[in-house]
Symmetry: C2
């Protein structure tokens, strides 16, 4: 049932290493970062690794309004949480919403809905980007 642990490859090491510098980036952006660092790695491999890491909970994934998926290494362990992300630079803070989970369950029940899932994402412009940008 629990899938066999993945093999250790230099590509995956390089990806995790790159993720270490933080920030939400698309798979293609992470691939650019890796190539820029001199790593020889295929785009498909980056996609697969990021998806696997997201599934295992080691990275967070968010979908932008334009449909792109952004990934970042998450330090907040396996606890459920949400993000406040800068639309300009990819920086993000982990946040949690005290009463939201309880509220969601209650509202869903009132309407007869089950198997509830929720999406809560905050975006804005961080202080640094607000100072620099137009």
């Amino acid at each position: 049932m629990t899938d066999a642990k993945p093999r250790q490859t230099k590509q995956r090491a390089a990806i995790v290493d790159a993720l270490g510098r933080g920030g939400f980036r698309s798979a293609q952006d992470w691939h650019d970062v890796l190539r820029h660092d001199g790593a020889a790695i295929g785009l498909a491999t980056v996609y697969r690794a990021l998806q696997a890491l997201a599934e295992s909970g080691d990275v967070d994934a968010v979908v932008t309004d334009s449909g792109e998926t952004l990934y970042r290494l998450c330090e907040a362990g396996e606890v459920h949480h949400h993000h406040l992300r800068c639309r300009a630079c990819g920086a993000a803070e982990d946040v949690d919403i005290p009463t939201f989970e309880a509220w969601a369950t209650s509202v869903a029940a009132q309407h007869g809905y089950s198997r509830i899932e929720h999406t809560v994402e905050l975006t804005g412009v961080c202080h640094q980007c607000a100072t620099e940008g137009a």
Copy 2:
């Protein structure tokens, strides 16, 4: 500034009419509905109309995890609100989250973020779909 009012065409009338039956559907699904009703209408026209209606606030648009955009005619006027949507059939309830907006602004300010936007969507399985489906 305010764009000139769009012309009245049979295509747009047909689209608004179809939307009248409710539910969140993708542009392609709405197109299928229209064709099924015997309307001769192009897919590109459906995309354009739905986007225009979404921009003017007459329809709600949500983006699924897979990146598809779903549209539905919204009865909740121009007041800001969110949705509890059935993943199986497209049914949806308008909901509002009492203290969320204030909380979001406050958290953003604490982290030095400005120009805040937020996404809150609830999904589940409605009572009817839960009864019928597996």
